[in-house]
Amino acid sequence: MATGAKNYGLISMVMVILALIPFLMLYEMKKPQAREWIPLAVMAAIAAVGRAAFAFVPHFKPTSAIIIITAMVFGPEAGFLTGAISALASNLFFGQGPWTPWQMFAWGLIGFLAGLLSKRGLLKKKWQLIVFGAACGFIYGWILNIWSGAGFVYGLSWQSYISLCITSLLPDAVHGTATVIFLLLLSDSWGAKLRRVKQKFGILAS
């Protein structure tokens, strides 16, 4: 194999794209009906628009909160899909780049986790929602730091990764705070709206 500088940039990118595939296949295998996925397309589009609308405050975005709310109503697979697609779609404004698959994975994972936790009844209480929302800022940041580390700094080591995470502490905290604020502002009303649509039209009964 090649000597010299090992390239983690491409390897990590291939890995994250491979990691996206099973989640997408999971959804594909359900053979969803138009009624079932259209609300997800709407929520992904709103998450993307929300990211653009709040671009005036750096790192302060409603995207994670919108994904979490959608996942809480429609379940983990739908949550992953909404997250991944809103990342892909919002990068139409912010620019596609090597970071796109990472953002798709990070937001997809946030949606998936929110769906799982909510299924177990772990996001019912306000404090649980606050803790999870705040954690999401860091989950997102730390996943994207893997890319920053692999792309920029030779020999992705724990030290350089941790120092990257320390550098990104403030933006991640802002993102986490934004997620908590939007969850508190929106989760009740939007949850009710989504549940109503789900009930009225009989969407995603699972």
Binding site: A2, Y27, E28, I38, A45, G50, A53, A89, I181
Partner: protein, 300 residues
């Protein structure tokens, strides 16, 4: 979109089959991310800038530079600060050594990232979203359809946001004024109103789709793409150059030793061949464009 712009985007590589242009960008971007080597990075960056200048239009190209150059400087400086490996110590910064090797590596990897970003801007011009969906619609039809739906929803939602925001302003709830807290609250309210509107609208769309027979047959696409002889030739060329790229990487010609001390890349005949192959790949879109422009001039 003005007619002039429409003409501009639909030329050169854009006229080939989506599969060809998609594979082209996979090959060229993979090469960019694969080779941590000053010559390859230089080739990739040069070709990317040339290609972007030719196919993206002047304004978009300047925008790319405005974003890319600061990023280049940031990464080039960040590496020696985060990374203290290397034998040649330049100076100490709060007890951490700053090395020449890390500095050079920073410049090379910054060039690599800059090139990747510029290639992605070319990708965005050539592989439009309908082409992307055309390719992935075969493998993941439902997912591709959601993406397509989301992309078409975004401009509609933006227009609706404007309507809602105007209405809100007229009753004294302008999101553009007030404290940050008030602005965030107003922004959230606008999004909230948007959700109610969009969800109803979406389910009606779904029912309308069902009424028109969605899901009865295989879906057709808006654009019709034919894979012709010209596409086959171009595809073969891209694949051959990609094979050369993989050979260069596996034989260790695409990377350079940076740590602990730099070893200047040796350059034998095969290395030069590899540089030539990668240059040929990188310059392809510009070459197609120039060939077409010349043909157009001759015909005029």
């Amino acid at each position: 979109m003005t007619e002039k712009k429409a003409l501009k985007t639909e030329s050169g590589l854009s006229l080939y089959h989506p599969l060809v242009s998609f594979c082209y960008f996979v090959a060229v971007i993979a090469g960019t991310l694969l080779f941590i080597h000053p010559y390859f990075v230089l080739i990739s960056l040069g070709c990317a800038l040339l290609c972007a200048a030719m196919i993206n239009g002047k304004k978009a190209f300047l925008g790319t530079l405005g974003f890319g150059l600061p990023m280049f400087v940031f990464i080039a400086l960040a590496n020696p600060l985060f990374n203290h490996r290397g034998a040649t110590i330049l100076f100490y910064l709060s007890d951490n050594p700053v090395t020449l090797e890390a500095f050079v590596y920073g410049i090379v990897s910054a060039g690599m990232m800059f090139a990747a970003v510029v290639w992605f801007t070319c990708y965005n011009t050539v592989v439009t979203s309908d082409k992307f969906i055309y390719i992935f619609g075969r493998i993941l039809p439902s997912v591709a359809l959601i993406i397509s739906m989301t992309l078409s929803l975004i401009p509609r939602l933006m227009a609706q946001i404007k309507v809602i925001a105007d209405a809100q302003r007229s009753i004294g709830l302008d999101w553009k004024s007030g404290t940050l807290g008030q602005r965030i609250r107003s922004g959230a309210r606008i999004l909230s109103i948007l959700v109610s509107w969009a969800l109803e609208d979406a389910v009606i769309t779904a029912d309308s789709m069902r009424a028109r027979g969605y899901g009865q047959h295989k879906r057709s696409t808006f654009s019709i793409f034919r894979f012709g002889k010209r596409d086959a030739v171009m595809m073969a060329l891209v694949l051959i150059l990609l094979a050369a790229e993989i050979f260069a990487y596996i034989s260790g010609r695409g990377t350079m030793e940076f740590y602990p001390a730099m070893i200047a890349p040796k350059t034998d005949f095969i290395d030069v061949l590899m540089y030539a192959a990668y240059t040929a790949l990188g310059i392809l879109p510009a070459a197609i464009q120039i060939k077409e422009d010349l043909k157009w001039k001759r015909l005029k």
